[in-house]
Subunit: 320 residues, 2 copies
Amino acid sequence: MALSEFDLIRRFFAEATIRRPDTALGIGDDCALLRCAAGMELAITADTMVAGVHFLPDVDPESLGHKCLAVNLSDLAAMGAEAAWFTLALTLPEADEAWLAAFARGLFSLGHRCGVQLVGGDTTRGPLAITIQAMGQVPEGQALCRSGAQPDDLIFVSGPLGTAGLGLKMRLGTIDHADPAAIAALERPEPRLALGQSLRGLASACIDISDGLAGDLAHVLAASGVGAILHYDHLPLSECVTEYIEETGDFALPLTAGDDYELCFTVPLHRRDEADMVLGKCGLRGAAIGQCETAQGLRINQRGHPLALEAPGYEHFSRA
Amino acid sequence: MALSEFDLIRRFFAEATIRRPDTALGIGDDCALLRCAAGMELAITADTMVAGVHFLPDVDPESLGHKCLAVNLSDLAAMGAEAAWFTLALTLPEADEAWLAAFARGLFSLGHRCGVQLVGGDTTRGPLAITIQAMGQVPEGQALCRSGAQPDDLIFVSGPLGTAGLGLKMRLGTIDHADPAAIAALERPEPRLALGQSLRGLASACIDISDGLAGDLAHVLAASGVGAILHYDHLPLSECVTEYIEETGDFALPLTAGDDYELCFTVPLHRRDEADMVLGKCGLRGAAIGQCETAQGLRINQRGHPLALEAPGYEHFSRA
């Protein structure tokens, strides 16, 4: 193989990233050096995606590059942070130039758009896996945490649920046609950064929906010490998901399927209009889907009847 | 398998870490929130270790936990930074409680000693691999970079070279006896954090020796635009390495073997005594081993004769 590790990093990654003025030193030394702004806290998140576990080994590398960064930026969005930097730990079975070029294209296309600079990382040989750590900044004390929801707060989601889950069924061949909207939701999720920042000072709690609404909302409820009622009929659904549920009766999909990367947030009841306005400004088809309650636990109501759910959310090791 | 992902994280990692007062929010939300001190830059590094590539699959998990963190802290040391936080992305084929307990023991034993807090990460199922990102702080403009070496600067290393490389030969069975010092150098490298911080304002350039002295020093020379002469006979060697070279004639070991994690740094000629004093204060058996020159390239001198080297340093993809 002709490409050395250093050539590889330089060609596809170090030279392709944007440069931020608050980066004192980027790729190329033992560490990168970043200047955090005064009065801001640094928000940090890390996510690993493993071939065969989080994506199909033959996935389009450009989509994979997009998604690996998107899922991390989604965590920054959920805290109300501005995205700033990321590191990339890339483990590859071989240095395939075409694959790397496409992966980098997907990665940096999103990265440039969101203003994040690649500042370091590692390339290693091994089974295909990608760990990205993303860093952003949020004004001190203004981050959106999971723990701030109060009884009576309204529960919102920022967009349709279950679309990515439907896309996964299509990719796995469980469903024999492929809807472009569902595939796009699965492979090119859009981190809701602008929304997250607009929710600072408005949302009482926030989380991104990576493992399914029911499971992720349960984290908010547990951290906040409240319960909730959800109105199934208020869930925003994309056309393809509505059709799929009508055909199959699989009503649980929008509640339990992962990978949507919409935000789920709570807002004091009297500020509902502001939340609707923020969603509209961000061009999002979000909706109020329920309300927090003093009684612990999550209750779901469908056409006036309670709905029982089995799977509480995706967990890697409990499914062995 | 009984352990859920959340139980796993909580039991072995979230509850075991130290708490720093400058951590606004640790593990348990979409992001951690860190408070960087005024006048400091944030130093960031990430390293991945893959089973079968960077360590033997049957390695003692306690040693592995130590080493994964140590190699990252070594990068912070090389910048002169104080260690503060790290994230852990752990990919495991199965949730083996005994393995995890031992791994966490090695990780946190070093982490506590160095004052670093685990603030986030990810646990995923897949082929065993660990990515750690370590973060530290260094006063603005005082980081030790690779690019500052000047002609005539003396070149130092912080301790014996080739010991870890010899330990690897023992672990691989290339050598049929095991020397505890060599195994310890390989499996429990000690990040030179105190030294790195003491070198601020004294060293003109610094790097940690992860891929072998010759290759890593070459990075410093290239970044600084200088060449150098090394005196082979001045290299600090441990007893077992001296014996090994006498027996085998493999003189290249201390120049090319990786994994020593000593620092290699340059110091203005007239400040030699200060460097010696700093090494002594840190209890290290370091030494001046050469000098920077205007003429580009790395020359090695052994008993008055030039020495030729083949391998310039470890690169993952060039060895395919």
